[in-house]
């Protein structure tokens, strides 16, 4: 029997939310338009010089797009602020917390990984597992680690970490590990592969990221809510950032804790059952996902064609297209993730997201999608294109100022009559406009702080009102300085993507090694130079204009030290000791977060990674058992590689050759035997085999 949305029982608790949602969206549109047009009018008046019509028109068009963009975020925050302050939201997805779970509500937790640190991945998995078992309802859940790892050392360590976790947790048959040989369609393909193979065994799946962490109670709540609302296809829990160590990560963690719940409550206000999915920390009804959310390849070559990179938004849109609902469970605690530790790591992730979000522009006209999701596709792309617009806005503003400065005021325009046009100073209007923009930008964060201090429990968890506002000011300063750096990078990413340069798919750095001065210089040298040149030009053209631009220029000129210092874990610890950017749960972390920090003791082996798979007996047999030919009885696939490996040692093999050998059980067995045979000790020593000690006699 195929489950359909229309056949699912009517959900009385959420009522006629579609009608309400329509009105709320009309209201939001009016609210966004209301300040945008007056602001554009004022902007038109304060632009210098009456000439250069097309330049002014372009500038105004860009200004309106940017202002509407900011206004949308502003009103979303206001709606969220009201919802959280009053504590009333009749359209929040709820369920009876005492309702026992049905036996049929089997749930798979999927953890797709790709070249991640195995110890950290499995530390989080263990923490989630233990938390789930503590609820007493863990038997309905199964874990699947779905690996797309290609790095030979990492994939062997993944296998070891998994086997160790299963053994230590007594989770045989409950924590599964599968590595795909062909990484079709990346993460979405990995999840689809799970669905095709095992999807029918589970009513729900919770998709996690490699840095995701979920509390057992939260998982149970998610299942319970899905059971109570049978028309929901995806229910997204809001991941809170944890384990931040560097100043940048601590800033992100702080502002997300301060404003994240408010923004998501605001999103829930106008998105309601047409919300989006963020790719992880969400529960998904498997049957409709399989029926509607298979993603085809986009026609054409990458970057704008090929595999859909930011698959989550598209899957949510497909779910709604299939008649199902997608909601945000913004009230649920116990859903966590980590954030990139350095600015360069964040930008590397943004490069991938930028390409994925720009691909969405090709889906704007795809058949059947709800208008809101078309809007979300546009919104997602705007997340990066807005940087290009902002850059263009500043650039055109500089050009216009330069033109006005060099040509001087034209008192008599052609055909303008006998009377001169006097120059009018509109400083007060410019300042009003700037204040309005700043309010739009910064009031939401202030409201987040107000929410945080409005309740005693949260105020204390943030370290008190003084620390909240100190953190807010420091975060505002940091984000003002970093905004132009992000602008320059995002502009480049958009241009790269539009001009056909694709991203390489690699694992994300989640460690906190920090950015060296050399690396920072290499990546931010261009931005620094641009900032210095721009500042020089602005100063030469019009010193007042230079002052207007100075916050932007300061970020660019200082981008190298900002990138270096914001990546220093030692500076992060210093901030932590002083209670700056303190967040709830930091001093006394929840049990699941505490458990995730306990990295398991690694069982000793001869070597690690690829070497261990060849030399160490346990790791060797474990790896063989996961291959198609676990006894190495078939003919070796790459005898040439095997022979070279033996004659020249492991150092002679590159990563690709090592990976090929790891897939060839006959060659691995051959090497294992030869290394331990004692026949050629020098070659064996190159593989890390211990020396041969002669015993006195056989016992």
């Amino acid at each position: 029997m195929r489950q359909t949305a229309s056949s699912a029982p009517h959900d009385a608790t959420l009522g006629d939310w579609r009608r309400v949602a329509r009105w709320r969206r009309v209201f939001l549109t009016l609210l966004v338009a209301a300040p945008t047009f007056p602001a554009a009018y004022v902007m038109a008046r304060v632009l210098p010089g009456p000439q250069e019509f097309f330049l002014r028109l372009s500038l105004l068009a860009i200004f309106m797009i940017l202002f509407a963009w900011i206004a949308m975020g502003f009103w979303t925050a206001i709606f969220g602020f009201i919802a959280l302050l009053t504590g009333r939201d009749r359209f929040l997805v709820r369920a009876d917390p005492a309702q026992p779970l049905s036996r049929e509500a089997r749930t798979a937790l999927l953890m797709p990984v790709c070249n991640e640190d195995p110890q950290r991945v499995f530390a989080r998995l263990r923490a989630t597992w233990l938390s789930l078992q503590a609820t007493g309802q863990g038997e309905q859940f199964a874990f699947f680690v779905l690996s797309d790892t290609r790095e030979p050392d990492v994939l062997v360590e993944e296998e070891r970490a998994w086997a160790q976790a299963v053994r230590e947790l007594g989770a045989e048959g409950r924590i599964h590990y599968r590595r795909r040989r062909v990484n079709l369609k990346r993460k979405s393909g990995n999840v689809a592969d799970f669905c095709r193979r095992w999807g029918r065994d589970y009513r729900y799946m919770v998709v996690l990221d490699a840095d995701s962490l979920m509390d057992g109670d939260t998982l149970i709540q998610l299942v319970r809510r899905m059971e109570a609302h049978p028309r929901i296809g995806i229910l997204q829990a809001i991941p809170l950032i944890v384990n931040a160590t560097t100043p940048l990560a601590r800033m992100q963690q702080f502002v997300q804790r301060l404003c994240g719940p408010m923004f998501t409550a605001g999103l829930n206000f106008w998105m309601m059952g047409h919300a989006t999915y963020w790719g992880h920390n969400a529960i998904i009804r498997v049957a409709p996902f399989m029926a509607h959310c298979g993603l085809p390849r986009l026609p054409g070559a990458p970057p704008l064609g090929g595999d859909i990179l930011s698959h989550d938004f598209v899957e949510a849109a497909c779910m709604v297209r299939g008649g199902w609902e997608v909601w945000l469970a913004y009230d649920l605690q116990g859903s966590y993730e980590e954030t990139p530790p350095t600015l360069l790591d964040e930008l590397q992730r943004d490069r991938r997201w930028c390409q994925g979000n720009l691909q969405h522009l090709r889906l704007l006209r795809a058949s059947g999608f709800h208008p809101l999701h078309r809007g979300m596709f546009f919104h997602g792309a705007m997340g990066y294109v807005s940087a290009l617009f902002w850059f263009a806005f500043l650039f055109l503003g500089t050009v216009l100022t330069a033109v006005a400065a060099f040509t001087g005021h034209q008192y008599f325009t052609p055909g303008g009559g006998l009377f001169p046009v006097w120059p009018v100073a509109r400083t007060s209007e410019a300042i009003t406009l700037m204040i309005a923009t700043l309010v739009m930008l910064f009031l939401p964060k202030t409201l987040g702080a107000v929410l945080a201090i409005s309740r005693r429990s949260t105020r204390e968890a943030f370290g008190g009102a003084r620390r909240v506002f100190a953190g807010l000011l420091a975060e505002l300063g940091g984000s003002v300085l970093m905004a132009p750096i992000r602008m320059v990078f995002h502009t480049r990413f958009v241009l790269y993507t539009l001009f056909g340069q694709s991203v390489r798919w690699a694992g994300q750095n989640r460690g906190d090694e920090g950015t060296s001065w050399g690396t920072a210089l290499r990546h931010h040298g261009f931005g620094t130079l641009l900032g210095l040149t721009w500042a020089g030009v602005a100063w030469a053209v019009e010193p007042v204009f230079f002052l207007w631009l100075s916050p932007v220029m300061a970020g660019l000129v200082l981008s190298i030290p900002i990138s270096v210092y914001s990546s220093r874990a030692s500076l992060g610890s210093w901030l932590r000791r002083r209670g700056l950017f303190q967040v709830p749960g930091e001093l006394e972390p929840p049990a699941v977060v505490r458990a995730s920090r306990e990295e398991p003791r690694i069982e000793p082996a001869v070597g690690s990674g690829f070497l261990a798979a060849v030399v160490d007996p346990q790791v060797h047999f474990l790896h063989l058992s996961l291959l198609r030919d676990p006894h190495g009885t078939r003919r070796p696939r790459r005898p040439d590689l095997r022979d070279r490996a033996w004659e020249q040692g492991p150092a002679a093999l590159n990563a690709n050759e090592r990976r090929l050998l790891l897939g060839d059980s006959a060659s691995l067995s051959w090497l294992h035997r030869h290394i331990w045979s004692g026949a050629e000790p020098e070659r064996a020593a190159a593989w890390g085999a211990p020396p041969l000690n002669m015993p006195a006699a056989v016992a």
Binding site: W162, C293, G294, G323, W676, M694
Partner: protein, 121 residues
């Protein structure tokens, strides 16, 4: 019955090779002798084979021992092949976007009665 004759005649090198291998495994020391005797028995039964056959036999024995005592948790649930279905993402003419109706495909066009019949089938 095969005799572990060769066991007594193992060279110190062969013994060292085999012991070194056993030491690298997680097989407890108390089990080493049993495994070595097993190898010797197997070698005795295959008298045509030389000392070089001892290590592969031991490797096999260790693999068997590990499989029995520390079984690799490789079993996956049975596969039920199901399709990941997707409707076309073909672009619509711009005009069609303005006439957007109820979202959803075939599923949402079914009447309640049709859905009930389908669910009972």
């Amino acid at each position: 019955m095969s005799e572990p004759l060769r066991f007594e005649h193992w060279s110190p090198t062969l013994e060292a090779v085999l012991r070194r291998y056993l030491t690298a495994t997680s097989v407890p020391v108390s089990e080493h002798a049993a495994l070595l005797i097993g190898v010797a028995l197997a070698l005795g039964s295959q008298s045509a084979r030389g000392d070089e056959a001892a290590l592969p036999l031991l490797i096999q024995a260790v693999q068997g021992w590990l499989a029995a005592h520390h079984r690799a948790p490789i079993d996956m649930p049975a596969i039920h092949r199901g399709a990941m279905l997707s409707r076309s993402l073909k672009p619509l003419p711009w005009g069609a976007l303005l006439r957007h109706a109820t979202p959803g495909g075939d599923d949402t066009t079914a009447t309640a009665a049709e859905a009930t019949i389908r669910d009972r089938s």
